[in-house]
Symmetry: C2
Subunit: 480 residues, 2 copies
């Protein structure tokens, strides 16, 4: 069996396939496994009552988790995938632990991209508007025990597990097209150090090649709003797997969707406000920061500022500031407004309204939690996301880093579906090359979660022995 | 030669192909020609110095027209198509006139969807921010001489022209899939009164089957934000042509894009303001109303109101009101805000700021033109787009009517391109089944303009005799 790409989906597929007795070869274009997964924060979005949640004192159910994800990842995300993922989540956590991935039983409870601690559980917006109305808020971000970014540890363990199970890896090998015999995918044509090689797959090909953020022409075709920003990628997310599969008839979904990491410090935003170029707030600033990012890019064209007061800035612990300091400071809102080029009076009106409501502990416009609400007071500061994380002599950035969420249409067992919804014989896919749990929305950890969980299922199904807990779905799915 | 679908693109393709000597059969699923084109307003977006523009005293150039369209239809629209369209626009206007379509040499100059007059030329946002900075503003909406909706007249004339040129039409016939011989498309399998029929195309198949707004599953896959709204359609825009072509390897572009007709009266919006559920303005209300619609749906989730004063309402001529009356009226902004459920103080701040700027004849937030700027004064009114055009006992609508803009990737001569950008032999497409001039933005008249212009080119190319003025491009394009 051939797996194309050794990120988290490929590693999980390879492990499960090898464990179930298949002869597995993983092709990786880079000189070693890892992919974008290894560069990620390492959070896996899990819940439904995992051992880690229980150890931290939280009660969760698959139903509550599903209610949250259907709202956070929508509109109109794949309910079958979300349901299966939530129902399988406790088992999947145990599987990750059994692969040697450590999780520390403590909670990080502050708005952030990646905590600067080893806390194993983190909130990802579950307690922020509008979600508490939909589902009982509990934290579900599960983090390997690493300070800062933990993706590398997750990938180390998956690589060890897959290798120990017998999967072989061939690096520096880029798959270029699928080989079809009749209507069945039977192998790939790849390139290794410039030379073409043809590799036959006896059972199936599993595509785990990642998204397409590195291919500007594909972005222009499908997601023009993502063009021109920093790319969250390992450099090889060129959509090749998606295009290879489309060339043999595969359907795609939600190709215009994208995650947007706006370059602001979540703790500063939550304590102040995020305003657009007209000085208007547009979201509850205490939510999952990727939600601010999507709103800022897709609704405001990234024309935005973080405005807060000195008191709020000082409240953000040093290790959560990532070195970001105010770009503008002023004794009055009027002065700050003029300094940053917001039309006269606009920011003043916004702050007046915000302060009047905050004095009553309420935010009737955007429903920020009381915990982060108080009237702002002089002196004030503004932070420009275009300049965050830039050196003093660097030109401004775009203010955002993005990756794609759309991709191949697959069923629960990773069969790649054609335009009529029928599985393409011999072809499977998982991870960012597929349209997974998310349609338009996003939450950290759903990429690694989707990739590892559906990677496992695809690996098992491709090897001819679907995982037991998917008996219900696989009995309904046509064989391939 | 087979043309599939008799809307404006199909009619134009059939005429040109028949005129150049091909034996042309048009298949139409309905009981007569027309499609969505016949139900449309009838505007064709044309310019560059047409005879109608000159008769009305306007000077235009292809370069100015291109500068406008690249901004209005972007980001990142197909520059080759826009360039060709602008360069060919004067000739294309003459071609429409020669087909018997009358245009009256007078100008309609007020924000509207469709003028209630026979004026032949109308503004479509060219003079509203941000466009005057990009291109000298001139009107380019060319309307057949009809009061209100004129699409039926355009289609009557195209039908006459195609028939007189020798094209035959077979109605009540739905194409279901393409027949391929080797790598060449050679016909279609269709259904007529429930019976399958196979029709061979000696030269080529031209798909002019419209968009996919009537297929909710395709909307969910590609454009989930368009689900659940009224559909601007003839009822047969089910994406079948797009899917048939994809099944033989065609690539698609911009499948998530959509035009959004928000159900407000442009003249009322321009004289007042459009605010979201937080009482915030979000656009210059004097722009092309489809631009308000896209902003309202994609940026505000259609949570919005038109707020104006009695004076502004009375200024809108009776025949531009379409029967819409205020849904709420109040003596103060505070009362109006409470009545429509905007958080206390939010609309008041917005009106205070708007009035302060308007008193100086300026709108530094959104740049509405001075012509539509003055401080609002009591009494005030609010109009709910969810209730416009509804009877008193009807439930509220969604507030918008939509259609899709994405589709097959084609070159200037209508060759349908595969995933590697190569023409699929024997297959052409034009109109809403393709991704045409627009990527994400939209302007009225670019659908009929794109459909008729690129329909003509596809018809000529499919018949083996590309139109003369496309010598430059067709010499570069591979033959099919």
């Amino acid at each position: 069996m051939l797996v194309v790409g050794f990120g988290c989906a490929g590693g999980s597929a390879a492990y499960e396939a090898a464990t179930s007795g298949a002869d597995v070869l993983v092709l990786e274009r880079a000189s070693g496994p890892g992919g974008a997964s290894a560069l990620s924060g390492g959070e896996v979005y899990l819940g439904g009552g995992t051992a880690l949640q229980e150890a931290c004192g939280f009660t969760d159910t698959p139903e509550q988790m599903k209610a949250f994800l259907m709202e956070a990842l929508g509109p109109d995300c794949d309910e079958a995938k979300v349901t299966a993922y939530c129902e399988g989540s406790v088992e999947h956590y145990d599987w990750l632990v059994a692969r040697g991935i450590p999780f520390t039983a403590s909670v990080w409870d502050a708005p952030t991209w990646v905590p600067p601690t080893e806390d194993g559980l983190m909130w990802l917006g579950e307690a922020a508007y509008p979600f508490p109305d939909r589902a009982v808020p509990v934290p579900r971000g599960h983090r390997p025990t690493v300070k800062d970014f933990g993706g590398w540890l997750l990938m180390d363990k998956l690589k060890e597990a897959a290798t120990a199970a017998g999967a072989r890896t061939q690096t520096d090998t880029v798959a270029e097209r699928l080989i079809v015999d009749g209507d069945r995918v039977v192998g790939v044509v790849a390139r290794q150090f410039g030379e073409p090689v043809t590799i036959r797959a006896r059972k199936a090909v599993v595509l785990t090649t990642g998204g397409f953020v590195d291919d500007d022409e594909m972005l222009r075709q499908h997601a023009p709003q993502l063009v021109g920003h920093e790319k969250v990628s390992c450099g090889g997310e060129d959509g090749s797997g998606i295009r290879m599969a489309q060339a043999v008839g595969a359907a795609v979904r939600h190709m215009s969707a994208g995650q947007v990491a706006i370059t602001l410090i979540p703790g500063m935003a939550a304590r102040g406000m995020v305003v657009n170029g007209q000085g208007q707030r547009f979201i509850n600033e205490d939510c999952y920061p990727g939600r601010i990012g999507q709103a800022a890019l897709f609704r405001q064209g990234l024309d935005c500022w973080v405005v807060l007061d000195e008191k709020g800035y000082e409240e953000v612990p040093e290790n959560e500031r990532w070195g970001v300091r105010p770009h503008f400071v002023a004794g009055t809102v009027e002065e700050l407004e003029a300094e940053i080029g917001i039309p006269t009076g606009a920011l003043q009106k916004t702050v007046e309204l915000y302060n009047a409501h905050a004095a009553n502990g309420e935010d009737p416009l955007f429903h920020k939690r009381t915990r982060f609400l108080r009237p702002l007071e002089a002196p004030y500061a503004a932070i420009d996301p275009k300049r965050c994380f830039r050196g003093p002599t660097d030109p401004p950035g775009s203010g955002a880093a993005v990756f794609t969420l759309g991709g191949l249409q697959t069923d629960l067992d990773g069969h790649v579906l054609d335009l009529d919804g029928r599985p393409i014989p011999g072809l499977y896919a998982a991870g960012r090359s597929t349209s997974g749990l998310a349609s338009w929305g996003y939450v950290s950890g759903t990429s690694l979660g989707d990739g590892t969980y559906f990677g496992r299922r695809a690996g098992r199904a491709a090897a001819g022995s679907p995982i037991e807990w998917d008996a219900r779905s696989s009995s309904a799915a046509p064989g391939a």
